[in-house]
Symmetry: D2
Subunit: 407 residues, 4 copies
């Protein structure tokens, strides 16, 4: 439904053509210094009309906090917030009174609910993500202050234009096609690991595509403009890194860390694919090469490689968490498409309205937000367990095989 | 935690080295004819020791139903069931008292819980999936009888050996590398759609790898045996099709159908990637080609192509649902690996014990089970909504734009 | 937390001294005709300042619907709504900067959260109930239209002034004190059953105390005015009837109907007690007298008496559901109380601010709202089960003992 | 459904006439020393056949732990456990093939599920509570070791025989009937507070009725034997005290501590009423007398009286928590009752089978178990919040009104 999370819980409402969109964030730790600006900065990275690569719909997306914060400090009670819908033009959707947009949610929402909202796709609107971004900004603020956790997402491909192989995620590394050759190109790129270790939001935002490789970013821009000019659309992928996450997060067995993360990412509109660490590539590399050897790092076990993407057995191991999400090309395009009306009559639809030719630049803060929400919720759950165990008397009779050897 | 689902709810317990593994299935509709054999057949497809491609651990995996069924009919009350652990050999794990297995769950479980189970990875054991398979078999039985729903999973790759391009999932279709060429190889293969439409479990089971393409299956076998002989391991992918799912399933916005499905699949041990429909490929194909045009089929709207994989806007549209999951190479291998002990001392670990050199053949029934559980839970939720609306008096004043036109 | 319900789900935010209070109602069936007035009518019955028996705080409590409804029809998507806080006077609470109000939530909120909201008791404010009342009004609207369900609550006592024995709930019926006498006064009063069968909101609202027995209502008024004049407060009980609830609601074992109902009622501020049907009296009447004999009513089994209060084994049986809730005397009083400051310094607190001398008249719509929410959620869950079973093929082999005999 | 709790989660299965009853306890903190005997002791206090006051059904109720514990220490993974059903006599229920037992669950289960289990009432069986008692024993073990929490329940009434007024819970204290007299008998009995402060399970178990007042216990025994001899049944109340619970437990607003506690208690079979602290009496005592004044106790605020029952604003305040539950007279009686068959035919039913003439003595460990589960779950949630806040940097700008003054 419209609620995510167990201890840190986000509930959202709203769609394109109603008075406002908003969210209730429940379970935020009390005593957190939080200003509206902490939220606004991510909303502004998400808002439409920020460059010529995005929809011309013009929304300021100013956040109005209703409750849960006094004197700039969270009370621990639910934070209600909303953003008004100002630049609505429902008339833009008149063709879609007759035609369900192909591959959009118009038809499935009608099948689900039996009534048609004026916006067609109902909650399947980019504006729905405002509540997520606001909630994520709150989670992020906590994670940064309490753990130094950093979350940075960036565009790793638009259409067929990918980051160069040297800095590409593992599943995009070239392979020699020799199915019996386990060597060579399968190594995890050191440049990619370096990128993960150092990338910042400032660097990502230097280019409107939010691709941190300038030359590739420029080609992506051209690709998006080509789609826009053709009244067409194009998809892309977003890669995200989460640094400084403590080990031990993720709940066996159904709520493994990657399962929760995948769930959260695949709930973002237009997503079709998710992979963590080596991803699909991990199916091709033999165990002897794919396993991440342990080594002592700063007095704690770490791994020398990181095919695992920071998660082993569904639980974080303290290494960098990285993952990649595939966003399909937006369904709403202005060029004419042969399709059928709701009543089955064949015909051609050319959607009016304002659309993004490519969603990935604006998806970046949404991915970061969902990542923050997942980490936050898992942290609170694991914190509870650790604290609970720490209050028990030491076990005198525990066999040596059941204890962590000192190091 | 160890519970999945809201109305159809599965809770599991157990790991490798305890008395039994089991599950409680709550929310199964009453009045369903169900025999132990309906469950056993899938447990036997999952069990170890079924071929020379799997672990030699020998478990009969006989299911013992404890409650919830009388005279072969479900009562609607929780179905308790268990499978005994018979062929335990905890001594096999003595090296792992010193060494956490690289990329296994030994280390992360210890970080999470602070105590070490004798099996190391605790719940991160293939035996944990028994409860899922049993629950899935019950869900499947219902889905088959009430809706004619069919779920068939199969192995689509082992290592670098994939199904031939003609029958491969979209994300594996070759591309010409010309980033400005939107045409040609991007079409969804008709042979693949045919495969999805017709594949049966009987065909899948004809070869121990569970790959339905005999020539490829044979090469896969050789690849697995090569890994086994090298005391190494290899990964693979499983593709799954769900046929005859009604439209309208999936809950906006956080519980979109693909989000729930992705969550469920990524909770299976050793998974690193998930994609539905066009998947990562959907990021490369322009909207004008990727959109699935509507057409009247048997008096209801359907689509001519199916890049969407049966889900649009997070809600099923009645078309075939297909998705692909990446399983990494198993972490436990017998060859010696340079790594570190729990206390940080560098050394070499050669894991003893009985391991699968490749998990995908046995993963097939697990994928089917999780798919059945997801569909079942979503169906029950949507059924509730439909029934609720059907009991309301007709709305006389509803504007024509809000109603489904007759066809 | 701040969310209630599984399929019909209410999430609220807000307290006394923030911008607004509001709620998100998720899971409302689509296609329900619903106007703001349907909600406003119950908010106005709850609002402060409606008579000289309530707090002088003056709030119009106008509801602003943000989403989920178009053209007066629910879309099935979340309904966001809010009510502005207008008549705030935070300065009224200056003494409570030093003193936690005895038996209020000031101290426990500080213990829980570690920070003090300016209002002291944070969410433990009567204004928090606005979201509940709005959500309940929506649920009620559905229940009325789809099932003809009627929910009426009324004040059954103020202080020691109770409804006359003839129309009192069973637990208040007099007893002869002879512990060996099982006869006589234990019979369930026919006048009380008649009251349950016929009482309407119009009758309840005839008197500002919301007690349907005029002579008693007048004495209650005097009692409340006496408390007000003494700068003191007084408690009371609310009795509620729910008519026309179908049989079969309530989920064994932890979510029995009375358990969910009790949970909901005991979540209302100032409640200390809950009983359903015979309640505490049911502990005194022997089984042979307490059991409700079955009898055929309109072609279906019903019961001749109704000690059970419409619930047996945690599941509704189709008879009237009635229950009673005890509200303690409000903690905030203006007379001076000997107590201690937050730092332990002894002293005397005379709370300023605007308080209700007695909450039960305004609690009536809150009780109705929570009752509606509970019934709604349970109905949706049971609907799902019934629909699921109805889609199964008939069981040919079911033993006669497992089927309902025809009648 | 059959699952209770969020972080400490109990799922149960089983009824009277199946192979076993059992539970999965998820979320138990790792590192807890726990032996089967810790569980068995409470199961044995619950088991049938323990005295001539209980059902003659003879079950040893030996617990078999399946998982989650090694070398006597919890692993943090789910604890699966079961108890076999040995002394089944389904033939005893032959009359109930025709007749639904009045006020039992036979009819409502059939209405709910549409099929009849051989035991009639399905999960509405005393045996279902085995899983709860086992889970509660585990929670209690943790609470005792980590917090010194003590939970003791006892029988406070059987039929009309109550504990003497001096040691009775507040709602049973006599009143003078003068509705304008706020004085005198309303004071909370010091003897009752003394009883709460000192009562132990050993004292409770000295008499088979589990009433700690020997003279009253003897009269209760006679009352139960009278019911048994008359082939009738009788109800009673159980009072429970929880000592040493930290302040701050309970989640505003829907999951107030008393709401969760009430939910848990009203999910126990045969319960009809719940009150905490002053309970229904709290509706009669004016605020000026009912408010619990604060006072410094051991460097922390406490209260001089305790009408609140340890909970204020839905959150624990560190004082003793006490509450009372009403159990109706058991529905199954052997004397003949005029009623109707499932098909509506009038007739007389004399139930065979083995029944408790009074459930309260055996209900004592069930009440304790549910209390432990509620406290455990709330503790884990609040622990998580506290830990989260403790990791934040101190707020330099917090206004003095938002901080706890030092004491």
């Amino acid at each position: 439904m419209s609620t995510y999370g167990s201890l840190f819980r986000v509930t959202t409402y709203g769609e394109s053509h109603c008075a406002s969109v908003g969210a209730i964030i429940d379970g935020c730790p009390p005593g957190l210094e939080l200003s509206p600006q902490d939220i606004q900065v991510q909303l502004s990275r998400r808002r439409p009309g920020q460059s010529n690569l995005t929809t011309p719909r013009d929304e300021k997306d100013l956040v109005h906090i209703q409750s849960g914060i006094e004197h700039g400090v969270t009370l621990g009670t639910p934070i209600g917030l909303l953003v008004k819908n100002e630049d609505q033009r429902p008339k833009d959707y008149s063709e879609t009174d007759l035609y369900p947009r192909p591959s959009h949610a118009d038809y499935t929402y009608l099948e689900k609910y039996g009534v048609k909202a004026s916006s067609g796709g109902g909650r399947s609107s980019a504006r729905e993500t405002i509540g997520r971004v606001a909630a994520g900004a709150i989670a992020e603020r906590y994670l940064k202050l309490a753990y130094g956790i950093e979350i940075v997402a960036f565009v790793s491909s638009v259409g067929k234009i990918h980051l160069p192989a040297t800095v590409a995620p593992p599943s995009l590394a070239p392979t020699d096609g020799n199915e019996d050759n386990d060597e060579a190109q399968d190594a995890l790129s050191p440049e990619f690991r370096q990128l993960l270790a150092t990338i910042t939001r400032e660097e990502v935002d230097k280019h409107p595509t939010r691709c941190p490789h300038p030359e590739t970013a420029e080609r992506m821009t051209q690709r998006i403009i080509r789609a826009k000019d053709a009244m067409d659309s194009i998809g892309g992928t977003v890669t995200c890194i989460i640094r400084n996450v403590p080990s031990g997060l993720g709940e066996p067995v159904f709520d493994k860390f990657e399962a929760k993360l995948g769930h959260a990412m695949l709930s973002i509109p237009a997503t079709k694919a998710f992979e963590i660490g080596s991803g699909f590539k991990g199916a091709e590399v033999p165990g002897s090469k794919h396993n991440d050897p342990f080594v002592l790092k700063n007095g704690k076990l770490g791994t020398t490689t990181n095919w695992s993407g920071g998660v082993q057995g569904g639980i974080t191991n303290g290494e960098d968490i990285y993952f990649r999400i595939g966003f399909k090309s937006p369904a709403t395009i202005s060029q004419s498409q042969e399709t059928a009306q709701y009543d089955g009559t064949p015909g051609a639809l050319a959607a009016r309205g304002r659309h993004d030719p490519c969603v990935v630049p604006r998806a970046v803060p949404i991915v970061e937000a969902m990542a923050a929400i997942v980490v936050m919720d898992q942290l609170l759950i694991q914190n509870s367990r650790r604290t609970a165990t720490s209050l028990l008397p030491p076990i005198t009779t525990l066999p040596p095989t059941m204890v962590m050897p000192p190091h």
